[in-house]
Amino acid sequence: MKLRSYSVAGVMLFAALAAFFLFPYNLAFLTRIFIMIILVLSLDLVLGYAGIATLGQAAMYGAGAYAAGLFAIHVWADPFAGLVVGAVAGAALAAVSGVVLMRTTGLTLIMLTIAVAQIGAEIANRMREITGGADGLRGIRPSKILGIWDFDFIGVTGYWYACAVAAFVFGLLSVIGRSPFGLSLRGVHESPERMEAIGVSVFQRRLIAYVMGGGIAGIAGALSAQITQLVSLETFSFTLSAEALIMLILGGTGRLYGAALGTVVFMTVHHLAAANDPFNWLFVIGGLVLTVVFALPSGLVALPTSLKRLSKGDRHARS
């Protein structure tokens, strides 16, 4: 078990290194993958572990992005301080909305998570003097990382910075995933009635998970604000939430490396297929989603197991 998690970490770090040298002209895109991995990891905690069906993870991402951007412009441009501010903003929004949202389930929950993100977009749009409205928040100039590395034009610093933050989040969630709290989230996911019978407040556990996921999504948002030096209303968009969900399901829920794998595959397909025409991209993504739902319900990480079971003639392949 331990050996396997080390080897997974090793493979991912090697992939990061290899990508850096293989695609030196695509650093901006590769950096974006790291940011999305963090967002999708946050969703894995909330949805994959705790089973909270959300389509509004972008709300916390956007809150983190705007908070970190404004903090950098008006208070202090230090990147790590910005990440902390983003995490706090994301966690705070998750806490405030979660107090209401975590009492609901099913369709109502899904709809309210979308609504919270739309409220976020609406507020950012209306408070033009502060947020720049539809033009976006501009003028974010993060200072040197640890006072040493400046964000360079090519994006080398940004790449390794994002890689380090993603690795940190991945490590943190790996630890939490194996902890008693992580186990209790899986319990809440699988049988909330039983958790109550054990004497656990399901609402409270779900809320904690939602707030933690919100904080991590806030970090992803802050990172994107620092690296692109711009925050747009798109950070709150439904499409972002939906894409994060698709990446997670594509990779496989409840296993963190599934989130990473799904993100890499999805973003790469996006990069190759979409680029110039967003509507053609919608054809691709729509087809991709239906394929995943019908043919690969447990995600890519389950592919080897599914194939093995299939070849054995085991009919319980779908769990």
């Binding site: 069906a53 609901t104 389930t105 109502t108 919270v116 919608l282 729509g286 087809g287 739902v293 319900p297």
Partner: protein, 287 residues
């Protein structure tokens, strides 16, 4: 006083549009227990087909609208059979994903066909005229919307209470397993209900194009709005959807008149607070 009347008339008209579009969603969600995020796509189809028939085909408004509704129904029926029927038994999340995928495909198809710009549906002369109600001037269009909305709810009521189909449908909504155990062909009921819901959504999309403008991104832009009506009304309840649609129409219209910058925020916040205190909606049964 005048302000209140304006809010009432515009709010009710807006609510009627929301009702027409969302009622099918509510019934299908209550009946098939499927989380359907693609429902706005049928309103878009209706609007897009009507736009095309009027602009390119030169058809009159009423004919184009009727054909567009029929066309949407004709698309919805095979969709129900090919995609929806397969996902009824799936988990919530799988349903969400599948219907998001479907939404993206609808958007991409409409864009491929008609482009991504606004798809106007010009109203005929008669509907643009003003009608004097004594206390205020009202466009014939608003009047038509309100009248059609009332006809739809009356028609649905008659359908549910006075026809065999209605009895079967209510039985299926109340208890799907019992219904199929009694030999009721739930498959046919599902498809008919789905098609009816899609047709009403198309009608709402066409009539409501002035309030909710039609373009390719329509299903995403108004997704939450339609889902709100369903959640507030209570899954599967026609009367609940009607009350919820009118309430939301009035609240949002009032907010637009009084505090235009805050309208969406106020409406959504009220919705969230309402659902926090009553998660099952107005007419929903507590689970």
């Amino acid at each position: 006083m005048n302000l209140l009347l304006n809010i009432a008339v515009d709010g009710i008209a807006y609510g009627m549009i929301l009702f027409m579009i969302a009622v099918g969603l509510s019934v299908t969600m209550g009946l098939m227990r499927v989380v359907n995020l693609a429902h706005g796509g049928f309103a878009l189809m209706g609007g897009a087909i009507a736009h095309w028939l009027i602009e390119k085909g030169g058809l009159p408004f009423v004919g184009a609208a009727a054909l567009a509704v029929l066309g949407t129904v004709a698309i919805a029926m095979p969709l129900e059979r090919v995609i929806y029927r397969k996902i009824y038994g799936f988990g919530e999340l799988q349903q969400v994903l599948a219907t998001i995928g479907l939404t993206f495909l609808i958007i991409a198809t409409i864009d491929f066909w008609l482009g991504s710009s606004l798809l106007g549906i010009p109203l005929p002369e008669t509907l643009q005229r003003s009608v004097d109600l004594g206390f205020r001037q009202l466009t014939a269009h608003r009047m038509t919307v309100i009248v059609v909305g009332c006809l739809v709810i009356l028609g649905l009521w008659a359908l549910l209470e006075r026809t065999r189909f209605g009895i079967l449908l209510r039985a299926a909504v109340d208890n799907r397993d019992t219904a199929s155990a009694l030999g009721i062909n739930t498959g046919h009921i599902y498809m008919a209900t789905f098609a009816l819901g899609a047709g009403l959504a198309a009608l709402g999309g066409i009539l409501g194009a002035e309030l909710l403008p039609i373009d390719a991104y329509y299903p995403l832009r108004y997704m939450v709005l339609f889902l709100i009506v369903v959640a507030i009304g209570g899954l599967g309840s026609i009367l609940g959807s009607f009350i919820a649609a009118l309430a939301i129409g009035l609240v949002e219209t009032a907010a637009r008149y009084v505090l235009p910058d805050m309208a969406t925020i106020i409406t959504y916040t009220l919705v969230i607070l309402f659902l926090a205190t009553r998660p099952q909606g107005i007419m929903g049964r507590a689970s």
